[in-house]
Structure formats: structure tokens, C-alpha cells
Symmetry: C2
Subunit: 102 residues, 2 copies
Amino acid sequence: MTKRDRLNADDIAAGLADLPGWSLAEDGLSIEKTYRFKSFVEAFGFMSQSALAAEKLDHHPEWFNVYNRVDVKLTTHTAKGVTALDLALAARMEAAASPACP
Amino acid sequence: MTKRDRLNADDIAAGLADLPGWSLAEDGLSIEKTYRFKSFVEAFGFMSQSALAAEKLDHHPEWFNVYNRVDVKLTTHTAKGVTALDLALAARMEAAASPACP
């Protein structure tokens, strides 16, 4: 199994357990989260960090931004579903959304 | 009239004449354009330049990105329509999408 193979429901559920706020879309083909920040600057800072991670993973989000809100959807088109790559990118986005220092 | 006052249809049409590819949304409340780039990196480069311009103007887009595509919608919520600020941000985005050198 490679990172680009479609995961089954159990594997997705196990992956989501480590990703607070993320959920499987109704159609089961993608995972989603809505992030809210203090400002546009913080929202776009998150997007910038996520974009670098996405490019490094060679796996990219579908996302919508208005002011301090970012709606993210992750799916792997070639697999027609959710793969380990989606979970990996979601984990990078969680890191990008969290302050580095306590 | 300030930059945050709602423009009438004639003023919007005059403004759009200088913004190739931009059009008034069906409901008349926003202006829209879909940009396509060679890659995610170019698309996000455009978004980064646009984000800096938006922050400087203190006026922000609603936008959706998937890979090399960026769908942009500009409106001024406080005016419930299109204002000079939307036209100004659209002009900055046009500049961001165009190569600086021939």
C-alpha cells in the first residue's frame, strides 16, 4: 500500500482521531476542517505555511478563504478518496495553525 | 463619495472596462474572476502578492484555490455592493497575475 492508495473507513477514522476538528465529508471522499483565526494576516500566515508543506508533499488542498476563515478540503483525486497523503497534509496544517511555543 | 460607497452600474461597468476577465456577479453585488496559472506555486505566488495588497488596502478577497486555479470574488460588505475598493484590489490582483518584465 502506498501513500496514494485509498484508505478504508477504519483507517480514515483512526487517522482522524489524531486530527481535532477534522471530519470525513458526507460523501466519504474527502476530509474537511474550517479554521478561524484572529485576523486575515493570521489566516494567510497559516495558508502560507500550509502551501509550503503542500508543495513539499506534492499534494495540494482545496481551500476557501474569507478574512479570518479558511475552509479546507483534502482529497486524492487519483485515488478517488482519502489517502495517507491527505492525513499527512492535515497534520502539517494542524501544526501550521498552532503556535510553536507554549 | 468615499472608496467605501457603493458604486452604481455605470461606474462599475466603467471600472470593469480596465479589468480584463473580471465581470459583475449575477446578483450585482460583487465582481469575479477565475485565474489559472501553470502550477500551484504560481497560483500561490499570485495569492501571496494579492494578500499583501489586500492587507495594505484593508480590504480582503473571498477566494477559492485548487491547484493552479484561483476563483476570486470581491465585494464590500458594509456597502452591500461593489465599491472603488473592490476595483482597486482587482487592479492589484491583475498586476500580481502579470509578469513584471516582458
